[in-house]
Amino acid sequence: MAKKTILPFGPQHPVLPEPIQLQLVMEDEIVVEAIPAIGYVHRGLEKLTETKAIAENIFVVERICGICSFMHALCYCQGIESLMNITVPDRSRFLRVIWGELHRLHSHHLWLGLLADAFGFESLFMQCWRNREMVMDIMEMTAGSRVIISTNALGGVRRDIDSDQQKFILNSLNKLQEELDNIKRVFSDDYTVNKRLVDVAVISKEDAHELGAVGPVMRASGLSFDYRTTGYAAYNELDFEPIVEQSGDCYARMMVRLRECYQSIDIIRQAFAKLPEGPIASPVKGFPSGEIATRVEQPRGEVLYYIKANGTNHLDRLRVRTPTFANIPALLKMVKGLTLADIPIAILSIDPCISCTER
């Protein structure tokens, strides 16, 4: 009978930059149980939105998470817009898709780098983050800020992308695709990488469905579901298929995200090809009332916003269910029985965003 050790994993840990604590109960190096302790990032953001004006809340919800901030703002704006029956101009719908996919690109690159770091592949981490800087440059050029781009507004977007910028973006994306080919070969073929990813932390199709996994975690287990296919923003006019892998292990989750990078590049190109001329925002008058639930597909999965408005400039209630929250049951199932060395990889494979989850 092995002695049980409790390893406090976090809240300050270099592999996991975010403060969540997992108390790993271990027998030798096998984890028998993982007890999460959360609340380190809880700020009380939902309550804050009730005191701010509706338009100001865009900046608040953007700061739920710095990595997928655009998606949060998009989801919020779409909710308010449908409450107020605002039709968004066509150009801004396409611009939203472009920025959304750029965010997905940067988020997935970030994740690929962190995954490489988690299995100790420092040069691959550097390579991913170097490629990511191309996307960050695009963000900085088009939106004026690298991370939290604040381009969403009620009724449309705040900034336009002109033709020079469009040329720059498409050039960068071509370069990015070449670089992606380089790292894809490493991620998919390298012997040591495969040793660390294949058959680690498997979630079966049934489990993924039962535990309510979302996003790449679900798609890696063979369930074809992507909220973008329902056609919010301009996705209904673009041609893409949800990316699905069958094996449900860390390798499959990595492959889903890697292939989604290519998909995002493709979607951005399509969106630029179809980008209509016209205004970028429609005027917004009055205040919303009623309640609504809206959803958007984030890099990590689908996010759900519940908004209750009462006809004044303040909301009654805003509730956010983030993809990481939905994926945590799947994570807790994964980590049981893993060795300690696989724990960081398993945790990262759901792409946890604790600041989303705890708000």
Binding site: Q12, P14, P17, P19, G66, I67, S69, W129, R132
Partner: protein, 150 residues
């Protein structure tokens, strides 16, 4: 001999990063500082991830009731001389989350802060500049032999 020790202290600032309730925006910019385009290792900066090895504590995000104790712990575990850099509007004053019910405000409510880096999210250039300023603080502490001041 002491002179060599002092110059060495300014050439090898090891950082430990603690995310206190940040939205990840500043965190990923801190990480971006380590990556090829910014490469803080040029100044000898390493992200050691272990407070016992670190000289500079880089904090992002607001302190809240839950993580204030952890933040204090991380700070206390660092060997003297040490310096603290607060990255981003949240770490400096609480930023947009200042009025949330669970936040205490800036991290200077919990630990003494030496350099404030503004921005939301702070640019990698600003973060690097902040770390280099903290190095100056370290040098001064080394010279004066300042010890625990609270």
């Amino acid at each position: 001999m002491m002179g060599i020790l002092q110059t060495a202290a300014t050439k090898s600032p090891w950082i430990v990063h603690f995310d206190c309730g940040s939205c990840n925006g500043c965190d990923i910019e801190i990480l971006a500082c380590l990556t090829p385009l910014y490469d803080v290792e040029r100044f000898g900066v390493l992200n050691v991830g272990n407070p016992k090895h670190a000289d500079i504590l880089v904090v992002s995000g607001t302190a809240n009731y839950r993580n204030a104790r952890v933040l204090r712990n991380v700070y206390d575990q660092m060997p003297w001389p040490k310096a603290v850099v607060a990255v981003g509007a949240c770490a400096s004053t609480g930023g947009i989350f200042r009025n949330c019910y669970n936040t205490l405000g800036g991290v200077d409510k919990v630990i003494p802060v030496d350099v404030y880096v503004p921005g939301c999210a702070a640019k990698p250039e600003a973060i690097m500049e902040g770390v280099l300023q903290a190095v100056q603080v370290l040098e001064k502490r080394k010279e004066t032999g300042e010890t625990y001041a609270g």
